[in-house]
Symmetry: D2
C-alpha cells in the first residue's frame, strides 16, 4: 500500500546531461555557538549544493523562540537567503540538509520528505539530518508501525527519529546511540537538541563528515569546501564510528558507541562526488583527480593532438593526462553556463536538442584533430555517444575516450542514486563491446589498482580487505543490502 502524496512542484530531476551520472544524494551541515546560525547553514549548504539540488531544509533553535524550520524545493540560493525567510530562523544553533532524492520515495518527492526531521520527546525536541542510506529501513519501518508509530514521510531516515522516541534512555544523545545501533547501512548524521550539536559517522565511515572551528563556535559539514565559504578553519575529519557531542560551553566530546570495523570510505567521493576544492585525506580532491589523469596516461597512452575534458567533471583528470603525456590541453567542448536546470515541459523540438542545449563543440579547434576525451565515468553511456557524435560531426579525425574511474558495474546502496544494474553499460558489456557501442577509436578505463594508487595507496588495492568501499566497481558490498535482497537483488557470486 502506498502513502498519501502531495504532488511536489515539478522540479526537473536532472540536467539533460547529468542524468547519465551517479548522483550523491545528500549534503549535511551544522553549526553551534555563532550569531545567526541560519545564515551560516545556508552558506554551507550553498557550498554543498553539488551533493543535492532537489530540495533543502534548515532547523534552528533559539532560547526564546524555540525550534524553527524551513524546508523548500529548489536551490539554496533561491530559498535561504532573503531576510524574510532567514528572520524566521533565529538562534545560535542550526543544522541543514540538501537532498537529491531518498531511497524511500518512489515517484515525486514530497515536502515532508525533506530533511531535517524533527521530533518532540518527553525531555525536549531534537532535529536530525542524514547523508547515506539505511539498508534495513523496510524492516525497521514495519516493526515501528506495528508498535504504533505514525510515519509522516516516506523517507527511511525518519526511522531514526522514531527509534529515538521509543528508546528507554534518558537523554537525547544516548537515545541517538540507541537508535543508530539498530540501523544498518551508511550514515553520516548531524543532529541538534536545544543546546547540543551532534555528529555521527557509521562504523565504516562510508560518507564523509568533517569538523571545523569558527570563532568560538563549531561546524560540522560533509566537505571542507563548506568550511571555506564561511571562513571556518578545518580541524579534522570525524572518524568512522565516532559520535561527537558539541556544546557552546564545553566544546567537542567524542564517543565511539559502535563495534570497531575497518574503514570503508567511498572511493567515488574522490572520483566525482566531492568538490575539487575540498580536502580528503590531507590532499585536495583536485590534485587526486589530476593524479588519476596522470595514472590513466601511464596506463593507457595514445598518440593525439589534443586532450579535452568533458566539462566540467572531467577537467582535472584531463589536465593531469595532458601534464603526464605532454599532449596539449584544450577546451574542445564548451559548456553553456546558463543551462542550470533542464527545460520544464519542453516542446518536441527543444527536447530533441538533448546535449546540445548544454554543450557545444569548439568546431574550428577540433576540425582535423585527433582528440583524447577525458570523462570521469561511464554510467549508461548515453551521453558519451552523443558527445562522440558531436566531436566527429565537427570534423575530428580520431576520438579516444579515457575514463577516470573503472567500469561502473554495480549499483550503490549507500546513499548514491544509481540506475538498476541492467542499465549500467559495464554490467552487460566488456570493455571492447563498450568501445564498439560508443563508436570511438579507443576506450580505456583506469584500473582499480591504478585508482587506488592515485588516491595514495601506493601498493594498490588490498584484495583481502579493500581500503575503500568500491562496491560500484567490484560488487563487493561491505554492508549487506538486506532490504534490496528481500526485493530480489542478487549479490555477486563468490569466486
Amino acid at each position: 500500500m502506498q502513502s498519501p502524496q502531495t504532488p511536489a512542484p515539478r522540479f526537473p530531476i536532472a540536467h539533460p546531461f547529468d542524468d547519465d551520472k551517479l548522483r550523491e544524494e545528500c549534503g549535511i551541515f551544522g553549526v553551534i555557538g555563532v550569531q545567526d546560525a541560519a545564515s551560516f547553514v545556508a552558506l554551507g549548504l550553498h557550498a554543498l549544493q553539488h551533493r543535492g539540488q532537489e530540495a533543502g531544509g534548515i532547523v534552528t533553535h533559539d532560547p526564546v523562540q524555540g525550534f524553527n524550520s524551513a524546508r523548500r524545493f529548489g536551490y539554496v540560493r533561491d530559498n535561504f537567503t532573503s531576510t524574510t525567510v532567514m528572520e524566521t530562523l533565529p538562534g545560535p544553533l542550526g543544522i541543514g540538509h540538501v537532498r537529491y532524492s531518498t531511497a524511500g520515495s518512489k515517484g515525486q518527492t514530497q515536502i515532508r520528505d525533506v530533511q531535517p526531521f524533527f521530533g518532540e520527546f518527553a525531555m525536549g525536541g531534537a532535529a536530525i539530518a542524514h547523508n547515506g542510506n539505511i539498508t534495513n529501513a523496510n524492516a525497521l519501518r514495519r516493526e515501528l508501525i506495528e508498535r504504533g508509530s505514525i510515519f509522516q514521510s516516506s523517507s527511511d531516515s525518519e526511522c531514526i527519529i522514531h527509534l529515538m522516541a521509543r528508546s528507554l534512555q534518558r537523554n537525547i544523545p544516548e537515545r541517538m546511540e540507541d537508535a543508530l545501533r539498530r540501523v544498518e547501512g551508511a550514515f553520516s548524521v548531524v543532529a541538534m537538541t536545544r543546546t547540543k550539536l551532534i555528529g555521527v559517522r557509521d562504523p565504516l565511515g562510508v560518507r564523509p563528515l568533517v569538523l571545523g572551528r569558527i570563532g568560538d563556535g563549531w561546524v560540522l559539514s560533509s566537505e571542507t569546501c563548506a568550511l571555506d565559504i564561511i571562513g571556518a578553519e578545518f580541524i579534522r575529519e570525524i572518524e568512522p564510528g565516532e559520535m561527537v557531542v558539541i556544546t557552546a560551553e564545553s566544546g567537542v566530546q567524542s564517543h565511539f558507541p559502535f563495534r570497531p570495523q575497518p574503514s570503508k570510505f567511498c572511493i567515488f567521493e574522490h572520483v566525482y562526488f566531492s568538490r575539487p576544492d575540498s580536502i580528503l585525506g590531507g590532499r585536495s580532491v583536485y590534485e587526486t583527480r589530476e593524479a588519476i589523469g596522470r595514472e590513466l596516461a601511464k596506463e593507457s597512452p595514445v598518440e593525439a593532438d589534443l586532450v579535452c575534458p568533458v566539462p566540467d567533471s572531467g577537467t582535472p583528470a584531463a589536465i593531469g593526462f595532458s601534464l603526464e603525456s605532454g599532449i596539449p590541453y584544450a577546451m574542445g567542448i564548451i559548456r553553456n553556463q546558463y543551462m542550470g536546470r533542464t527545460f520544464i515541459e519542453p516542446t518536441e523540438q527543444i527536447r530533441n536538442m538533448g546535449v546540445r542545449l548544454k554543450l557545444n563543440v569548439n568546431r574550428a579547434l577540433i576540425r582535423g584533430k585527433r582528440v583524447i576525451l577525458v570523462d570521469d565515468s561511464v554510467v549508461r553511456g548515453t551521453t558519451s555517444r552523443k558527445i562522440k557524435d558531436m566531436i566527429l560531426d565537427a570534423g575530428a579525425k580520431e576520438v579516444h575516450f579515457r575514463i577516470a574511474s573503472p567500469p561502473t558495474a554495480w549499483p550503490c546502496f549507500y546513499g548514491v542514486d544509481t540506475p538498476e544494474r541492467e542499465k549500467l553499460l559495464a554490467a552487460t558489456m566488456t570493455e571492447d563491446e563498450m568501445r564498439e557501442h560508443l563508436g570511438v577509436d579507443s576506450l580505456k578505463f583506469i584500473s582499480l589498482d591504478g585508482l587506488y594508487r592515485a588516491v595514495g595507496e601506493s601498493k594498490g588495492r588490498d584484495k583481502a580487505c579493500p581500503q575503500y568501499c568500491d562496491a560500484c566497481f567490484s560488487g563487493e558490498y561491505p554492508v549487506t543490502p538486506s532490504d534490496m535482497i528481500d526485493k530480489g537483488f542478487a549479490l555477486k557470486a563468490a569466486e
Copy 2:
C-alpha cells in the same frame, strides 16, 4: 518549548468586518461509491466554505494508486478544481476538510496542521477529519509523547490518530471507537480506510453531521447545503453518539459506542454558523432565522420607518422582523461583493477605511429616517459602533439595534473561535451599558427563551436540562473544558 514552524503564506485571517464575529472552525465532507470522489468532495467543501476559509484538504483512495492527498491554504475554488490537481486524487472514496484555525496553533497555521490527517497502521492506512474541539487534548498529547509518539502537527485532532495507532483492537473502526472513548469535548468526525467511509458524532451531538445518498453511493457532510450542490438526497442526521461505517457493498451500519447522554446541539448553528439553505431539525435555517426576527419584533417592538439588515448574516432575521412588525424592509446598507478577503499589507490610508471597504450606506434612502438595524450577534461590539456611525453620518434620525441572539458572554470551547472572555462586550457590560457604549437609541437582544421558542421549543429553555448547548450565552458548559481550567479559566460560579 515550541515546535518548529514553517511560516505559512500570509493569508489574511478574516474580513475587516467579520473579525467581530464568532467563527466556526471546520467543515467536513466524505463520499463513497462514486466515480471520481475528489470532485464531489471539492464541491461539498466549496458549499461548506463558510465554516472555514483558511485552508482545505482532501484525501482519496484508489484500489490501484492507494491513498493520495492534497492540502492547501486558501479557498476550495482556487485549489481543488483544476484538472491538474484533481487528477492526483483518483478513486471512488474520499474525505475532505475546510478549516479556520485549530485550538493548537498559537500563531500561524502550518500546512501540516491542515486536515485530514493520515496514519499508516499495521492493518492499513486511515485518514480522519474532525470538526469540533478536544477539551482534554493537552493531557492526551503529553501522555502520547511519553509513550514515544512523534507528533507532526500542533493540531489537537492528531491525538486521535496516535490513539488509534496504539489501540489493541484489530480493525480500524474498532480502533477509532477505542480512541474516541479517550477523547473529551465536541467532535463530528469523517474518516476513511481503503474500503470504508466512517462518520461519528460525539455523545452530546454538539456539532452537526448529516447522511446523504447519491446514486449508489453515500455522503457524509456537516450540512445539507453540501448535499444539494452535488445533487445528493438528504437521508437523515447522524445521531448524537452514533458511529456509521459505510461500505460500497453493504451500505450503512450504525453503532452507538458511547454511554448515552442528553443531546446538546450547538444553538449558535441556528443563529449564525450554518448556511440559511441548510436544513436543521426538519426546517430550513433561513426559516428559523426569520422566526427569530419575528420573535424579536414581538419581544422588543419599536416605532420606525425602515427595517434594515446588517448584511449578509442579519438578513433573514430582518425580513422576519419586518413581516411581524409591518415596518418596510429595505437594504439600507450595501455590501461590496468584491471584498472577499481583507487587504494584504495595506497602506495606512486603506487600513483606516475599515468597514467602509466592505459596506456602504444607502445614503439617499436612509436620510431622515428612523432605522431598525438587525444583526445576528454582538461580539466585541467594534463593528456595531462603526455601522452606527455610518448610518448617523448618512443622516438617519434614529438608530435602533435588534440582535438575533442573546448577549454573548462566554467563550466557546467546542470548536468555535471566540475572543477571550474579557473581550466579549456582554461579559463586562449590562445591556444598558452596551447601548450607551454603542451610542444608539435602543439596543435589544432576543431573550434566551425567545431563541429557544424560535428554534421550535415552544416552552422555551428547560433550565434543568437545556435542550441545546448554549454555553456562550449561559456559561453552562455541558463538557468540562479541562485543558482550559488547567490554564486558569474560571467557570461560572454556581448560583
Copy 3:
C-alpha cells in the same frame, strides 16, 4: 492582419452565471489635491469594481518623481493595496480605470490594452482613461496609421491619445477637445496632465460621470458610491457635453466644447449597471429599482405565496414587488458568497455543476409553494432556465418570472458587452415563445413606458425624442454605429 499578442494570465472571463448578463465595460476615477492620490484612486476603483473585473490600472504624477503607473490583471483589492505597489505611485494627482474588455480585442486581453493610456507630447505627458465605446474607431485607426502613428494596443481608446499627439493646439486640454471632436460614440473620460485633472462626457451623456469634493481636493468618478468610500462629498453630475479642467489652485473650470444635443443617458444604468447605493438623478438606484418592482407588480400581478429575487441583482425589484403586491418577500435562492470567480481549468464533473456552484435553492422553504422569481433582465435565457429547473426540482408548485427590464432585443455599441443580436433571446422570440422556451407558468417583462415611469418620467417614454438611450430595448441608436455598419450590422427598419 492581426497584431502581436502576449498571452495574458488566464483570467476567467465571467461568473458561470453572470455570463448571461450584460456587462458594463469600465469604471473610471480621478482625484487631485490630496496626499497620496493613489490610495484614493485604489479605493474608488474598488468601489467601482462591479463595472469591470478583468483588470485595472492607475497613473499618478508627483512633482519630483514624475508620472508613474501600474497595470494589472485581476481585482483592485489584490493588486492595488499593498504598500509595496502603492509606494511606486506617489503624488497628489492620479487617475484609474477598471475594465471588462474593450471592443478592440477579439480574444485575450493584453496588459498593454489596460488603461489608463499615457502619451508624451512636446509640452509634457498626459494620461487618459475612458468608459464607453468609440463607434468610428476603425476608421480613425486606419487614418492614424497612414499618417505614421504606431499603436501599442488593440484598444480603440488609444485613438484619442494619437489624435492628441497630432493636434495643432498648444496645450493639452485644447488638444483633448480637438481629439474628442473627431470621436463618435459614447465616452466619459478622466485624464490628467502634470497639474490638471480633466473630465469629459460625450454630448449625449450616455455614460455617467460625477464630481466630488474631498478636503481641498476634487474627485471625478463613474458613480457616487466611489465618493462614499473615500468620504468625499457628492457635488454634482458632469453634464452631457461638458469638459471640466481642475487644478489644485483654481478649482473646477467648465467648458462645453461640443455642439449641444438632447441628453441620452443609458437607462440600463438604472436597471443593472450602477450600484444600488449610487445616486442617479437625485435618487438612490436602489429606490429606482424598488420602484421598477412596484411598477411590475402593478402591470403584471399574479397570485402566489412568495416573492423571491434572483440574487443579487434582482433583490431591490423583488422587494418592491412584494411591497406593492403584499406577497411575502423571501430568500428562496441562496448565493454562495465564496464563488468570486468561475473555476479555472475545471474537471468535467465540476464544469457540469454550472449554476449550482453559485446558487442553491432553499428547498425546505420552496417546497409546495407558488413562487414569483424577480430578475433584472433576460439576455440569452440560459441561466433563467437552469434556475427554473432548480426551483421546480425543489418542489415548487408554480414558477412565475417577472423581469425588471423590457426584452433585450438589440446589442449595445456604447460601452456594454452584449452578445451578437442572434443570441439575444428577445431578438428571435415573442414573449410567449420565451415563456414556453423557459418552461415557466408565466413570464412578464416591465413595459418600456413602465420603466420610464419608474425612473421618474411620469408620462412615460417620449416616442419622438426618448429621454434616455434605450437602444438595447428599442433598437433606436442615438449615434450611428458606423464601424459596425461597415461590418454588416443591420439597423432596425424604419416603421
Copy 4:
C-alpha cells in the same frame, strides 16, 4: 520629465562578481523557412544568453494567426521552452532578442522596453530587434515627439520603428533603409515583415551578425555558437553596411544602403563578449584568446609555480600563457556552479560573503606557491582585490596578475554597459599605481599592439586608421557620441 513606470520584478542585475565586468547589452537572432520558428529562436537565444540575461523576447508570424509575441524577464530556458508558451508563437518566421539593459532606462527596466519592437504600418506590420546603441537617440526622439509620435518605451531602439512609420517609402525594407540612414551609432539589426527576414549591420560593422543555413531556411545570429545549437551551417558574416533581405522563396538579397566606411569591429568581442566556441574572422574565439595568453607570456614573463585562470573568462588565455611559458596550468580557483544569479534581498551576513559565494580557492593546491593569475580585464578592480586576498589568505607565496586586455580607460557608447569614466581604475591610475592598489607582486596588461597581433594583425595596430574599434582602450571613438557630449562627456584631447 519622466515616463510612467511599471515596476519590473526585481531581477538581480548581475552576479556579485561579474558586476566588475563590461557587459554586452544584447544578442539577436532570426530564422525564416522552418517549421515552428519560435523553438529555433528560443534555442538560438539560449546560446546567446551570455550577451544579455535580464530579459528576452520573441516575435513570430504565421499566415493564419498573424504576428504573435512574448516578452519576459529572466532566462530563455525559464521562459521560452514550455509547450504552453511556445504554442502561442506559431509560424515559419521569427526573430528574438536577449538584453542586458538599454541606454534609455535609468532605473528599472520595464517589460515594454524588452525587444523586439513591433509596429503596424499601412502596408502591414514589422518587428525589429537591435544590438548596439544609437548615439543620436535623444535628438531623434525629441524630433519624433514634436511630430506627434507616441513612444511606448524608454528604449532608444524604438526610434527606428517610428522613423519607419513616418518614412515616405512604399515598402518595409525601403522604409528601414530610410530610417537607419538617420541613425548614428552602432547597430546590428534583425527585423521581419510577414514574409521577409531582414538583417543589417551599421557601416562600421561594430557589432557582429552572421548568416546561416538550416535545411531550406535561413538564420541570422549575433554569433556562430547559436547556429551550432540548432544544427545550422555557418555561411558568412554580414558585412559592415550590408542589408540582407531574405524570403523563403528567393533566398538572400544583399544591399549596401550606406556610404562605405572603413570597418571598425569591436575588438572586445574577441577578448570577452563572444563565446569561446564562436567563430570570428575564420578562427575560434577560444584560439584567439589562447593566442592572447601566449602573447602576454611573451610580453610579460615571470617565474612561478602555477598559472591559474580567474574562472571562467580567464581560462583560455591562462591555457595559452601556460603553453607558451611552460609553467603548469592548474585550477587554483573553483567556481560554484550553482551561483547563477546573485542573492535577492540577502541577509547582512550573506551579503558580506561577497565573492566567496561564487569562488573558492583550492587551498591545498595553492599553499606555498608562486601563482600567476590570468584574467580577461580589469574594470573597477574591486573583484581583483578580493581574489588576491583569497589567494594570499590560502597561503600563496607570490601573486602575479596578467590581464588579457589593455587597461580599460574609456567608456563604450556602442552597446556595452561600462561604468562612468571616473570609476574605471585605468582612467585614474597608472599601471604601477594599479599594481599597488591591488596589492599584488606584479601586474601586467597586454599591450594594444600585442592584442592586435593576437587577433591576427601581424603588424599590430594601424595608428592612422585602426583596424578595430578600440575606443575603450584608446579613447578614439569612430562615431562621435553626440548625445553624451550634449550631456557633458569630454572626448580625449587631441595629442
